[in-house]
Symmetry: C2
Subunit: 239 residues, 2 copies
DNA sequence: AAGTGGTCTAGACCACTCA
DNA sequence: GAGTGGTCTAGACCACTTG
């Protein structure tokens, strides 16, 4: 049954929300099949057409995959192809460059001005910070400084050896990812980054300033990448 | 009536194609209202639901805008907001930088290797080439070298004073635009570009190598931009 | 053969816009 | 009040996958 028939929110959106919540909370696990359309329609007390509209929506939001004759399956956000969809570095042949990631220790602290702006936080809010280095074929090509709101990822500093890729963290914490925006400009490598990347300080690098948001539009990750491309490029797709 | 009832192509896609063709060909002009759902359903001999699905599609393809209580209107691809949607340079405040464009003479010639690769042309195919300079607040910030397949834009060299913005050319020639991909890297300004941009030769610039496609996926414009950003950035949006 | 999602129908009622 | 698109219903049949 719809959670709130009195609400102005259309039924198909209410159903979408209910389905999305089950996926976020892990009630339906990644890879599992969810009930078929008519069962869902019965459960929510709406018509099959309304259910279908909700399913179309969560499919377009990459929460499920539907296959004719088989069923509807919860996507694993940790899978290749979903987890790396915000990594836009490509090789000369156009193939995605997904570096090996080496992450430092996570630290916690008060959000600074830039973090507050990018993550839409208040002065008292805390963030977790991690430095990551991405390598391809043994060559480090990007140094990333990552900040995440502490409230969304509780006890992150205490976890050891967890993968800090945002898609994986988000899935583990019941957060659904939506869009991301990346500001691209030419910058100079910081002394520490230059050292890691094996280039002269103040070499021109690509500055990749990216904010990743939840499906409802809340920022959950801000990272500045200092990227030294040799034969690779950044690929932006526009629709 | 559906053009081909025997076709395997779903009815709503056949209706979509018919609507898209009328918009491309200019049968329905930019800004004009198109018939309402039930009239279209009658005309094509399908149910209102099928018509609606086709209308939803062309709306998502930016061909029309639907407004409850008013009607469905053909989008003007030459309008601000549609014509500049592939220009991703932003100012410090995040506002789009849409430069004044100064275009040189269009020339015609055989497609070179890179043009054939980017525009998927054969050895004998011809292209039109134009150099454009974009300025903002009187300062030139990007030099663009543009190539377009000659077959798609016949007699382009003979036209004087036409706007060479791809969205406008496309609308004039009955072509519907779809996606674009942009390869971004750090390059060195060519001597001529450096002169125009007022910077030292071999200064690091952002190289913006962009291919724009039609709705059916055919490349229609390739351009390399040499972009000198001062306080601005390139904004990539990922979904 | 049974079960799934994909397509399609033929309506109803509602929210919104505008004359 | 008339006309529009937005939502919703309650089915039918088809294409595809799997046991």
């Amino acid at each position: 049954m719809p959670q709130d028939v009195l609400s102005n929110r259309p039924l198909y959106l209410q159903v979408r929300d209910a389905l999305a919540e089950r996926i976020a909370k892990g009630t339906w696990r990644p890879g599992a099949a969810i009930p078929n359309e008519s069962d869902l329609a019965r459960e929510f007390g709406v018509s099959p057409g309304t259910t279908r509209k909700a399913l179309d929506l969560i499919e377009s939001e990459r929460l499920v995959t539907r296959r004719q004759g088989r069923g509807t399956f919860v996507n694993d956000q940790a899978s290749e192809g979903l987890a790396i969809r915000f990594s836009n570095i490509r090789g000369a042949d156009g193939e995605r460059i997904v570096g090996q990631v080496e992450a430092g220790e996570a630290t916690e602290g008060k959000a600074n001005a830039l973090e507050r702006e990018r993550l839409r936080l208040q002065a008292a809010d805390h963030v977790y910070r991690i430095r990551r280095v991405q390598s391809h074929d043994g060559r480090p090509f990007m140094v990333e400084d990552v900040s995440m709101p502490a409230t969304i990822f509780p006890r992150l500093v205490e976890m050891n050896g967890v993968n800090h890729r945002i898609a994986i963290l988000a899935q583990r914490h019941g957060v659904l990812l939506g869009k991301a925006q990346e500001r691209i400009s030419i910058g100079q490598a910081s002394p520490e980054a230059a050292e890691v990347l094996g280039i002269a300080p103040a070499t021109a690098i690509l500055s990749l300033d990216r904010v990743t948001q939840t499906l409802d539009g809340y920022p959950v990750e801000w990272r500045i990448g200092q990227c030294h491309l040799v034969g690779q490029h950044y690929l932006a797709e526009m629709t």
